[in-house]
């Protein structure tokens, strides 16, 4: 049993890293929104879920190529992000952060129920195909890496680096960092806080959409399982103290591996969730203890 488990580990490492890449994407979107607007977006997973089901509708049910589905998902993600920010966050500028957080719970319920009404409560297993599932053998080992898995990791890494670069080197990125640090001062410098906040919600939601579409080959997805990806994203983001993108990516990789390895040894389906919960508790207890050191976004 244990030996059989150990022999699975190399293959599971690949799966874990792919899963980690997807969590990283979701976590980056979450951190971006949190840092710029101060809102912990509990609807992040629901946005990912809804966009993913649009991609499913477009490319699996209607037969369009996968990339069109992905584009549709990103468009829907951006749209939802815009609506949430423009109509339910902006009117509450200056109100307590907790009110806005509870509003995202409302959005979670709305999106979750709407998707259930449209697509039903079934579990789906036909993924949105973006890249061929064929793969290559990793040199010197027996581990086969699928091109789709490789693409997922590359997309995650490129988008993570891209976001970091945008934050560091562009005007929009500088404005975002300024708003994240101090909205009042940013306003004094002539930055349109509303526009920057809206941009962060739209970009963050687009990342959620991409993460959702990429995760479809890995799980039997239904409206609920995709919605609760938000807690995985939170765990990864908490490891980066909800601030640092690089640490969030590291946290996501750690989480992906920690969720995958136990499956080699235990047949109980819930073990990954137990591991996630343990990591979440540790992150909250250690990194958010009173007086913990502050990190920078990028």
């Amino acid at each position: 049993m244990v030996l059989a488990g150990v022999s699975l580990l190399p293959g599971f490492t690949v799966i874990g890293i792919v899963l980690g890449g997807i969590y990283a994407l979701a976590a980056i979107g979450l951190v971006l929104i949190y840092r710029v607007s101060g809102v912990l977006n509990f609807a992040h997973g629901a946005v990912a879920m809804f966009s993913t089901f649009v991609a499913y509708q477009v490319s699996v049910k209607s037969g369009a190529p996968g990339w069109i589905g992905l584009i549709a998902a990103i468009a829907v993600g951006i749209g939802i992000g815009f609506v949430i920010e423009r109509f339910t966050m902006r009117p509450l500028t200056g109100k307590p952060a907790l009110t806005k957080v509870v509003i995202t719970i409302g959005w979670l319920l709305v999106l979750q129920t709407a998707a259930g009404l449209i697509w039903g409560a079934n579990a789906y297993h036909r993924p949105v195909k973006l890249v061929s599932k064929a793969g290559f053998r990793l040199i010197g080992t027996s581990v086969v890496v699928g091109y789709d898995q490789l693409t997922t990791v590359i997309v995650a890494v490129v988008l993570a680096l891209g976001t970091a670069a945008v934050l560091r080197y562009t005007t929009l990125g500088a404005s975002m960092r300024a708003v994240a640090d101090d909205p009042e001062s940013a306003r004094l410098w002539g930055i349109s806080v509303n526009r920057v906040t809206a941009a962060s919600w739209m970009v963050g939601s687009a990342m959620a959409a991409i993460a959702g579409v990429l995760i479809t080959p890995l799980i039997n997805f239904d409206t609920f399982s995709l919605t609760v990806v938000v807690i995985d994203a939170f765990t990864a983001a908490l490891i980066g103290r909800l601030t640092s993108l690089p640490y969030a990516v590291v946290g996501a990789a750690l989480l992906g591996l920690a969720q995958t390895y136990p499956r080699a040894f235990f047949s109980t389906s819930g073990v990954s969730e137990a591991v996630t919960f343990a990591l979440l508790l540790i992150a909250l207890a250690v990194l958010f203890r009173p007086g913990a050191r502050k990190l920078r976004i990028a």
Partner: protein
Amino acid sequence: MIGEARTVRWTAVGVGVALGVVIPAFLSDFLRSLAADAAIAGLIVLSLVVLTGLVGQISFCQYSFAAIGAFTVGSLVAGHHWDFWLALLVGVCFAASVGVLVAIPALRLSGLFLAILTIGVALFFDRFLLAPGTWDSFSGGTSSWRAGRPSFFGIGLKGEYAFYLFVFGALVLACLLVWNLRTGKTGRVLRAVRESEVAASTVGLNLTAWKLTAFGISAALAGLAGGLAAVRVGSVSAGSYGLLQSLLIAAIATVVGVGAIASAAAGGIFLVFIPEIIHHTPLSTQWFPLITGAALIFQLVYAPEGAVVDAETRIMRRFRRSTPEVPGEDSEVTERVLVRSS
């Protein structure tokens, strides 16, 4: 004037209780069973009134506490042939202790992170603890526990009206208990903790103990609701105690307002009877969470104090116009809670 306000309040409570007893007497058994469900849901809303309204902590895992009550009753009564009342007592105590356990990490976390923690707890219950294969002697594995209705001092609770009265009595007693908490010493202490933790600790209050107590009481109320739900439905399965139910009840509690004890009744009625009304419209009952979510968003953007609190304030103000608002009274509670925990 204040005396007059108090008379009005107690008259309203008396009329409410009387209506709660009398109206279901004229209803069909089906509606009576829904009324019992509403009273049980009211207990869970009440548990949020204690936690959020009194101490300013938020929780998205009340149904996980309810699950502890329900599964304790289910496994002990169905699996070990215990007496229902003993099983219920054990269930409530078990739920209270888990509540205290959840409160330990919560002691150091502010509102936002408490939200993440409690969602984590709800998912942990949902997908690990109550999932088949983890702890089957508690969760019942893939099958669900079956538990029959007990009798109450020799009175059988098999009839829907008798059972409803019993559950309604439990809700009224629990409300009185919370009312007592709020107006007595405990209430003053909890309010002090909610308003300013620093100030409360400088006058020598033990914050840790009080917060743990509040979580314990809240979880005990939810556990009681779960234990009652177990015999109301007659079977216990994990599907009814998920994260989405917890989010939904938190949304409803926010919509009706967590500042007033009357919200418990309003919230319970909302949760059970609105889907029933939707059922008679062209929409399916599946629309209910969507409508609740939309109501939550709309209300927080446009009427942030909560519907019931709003109404109560308006009524009480009519009788109390000449006296200034008592700080920490119902009216401003939600707003204050939200401000304080941010």
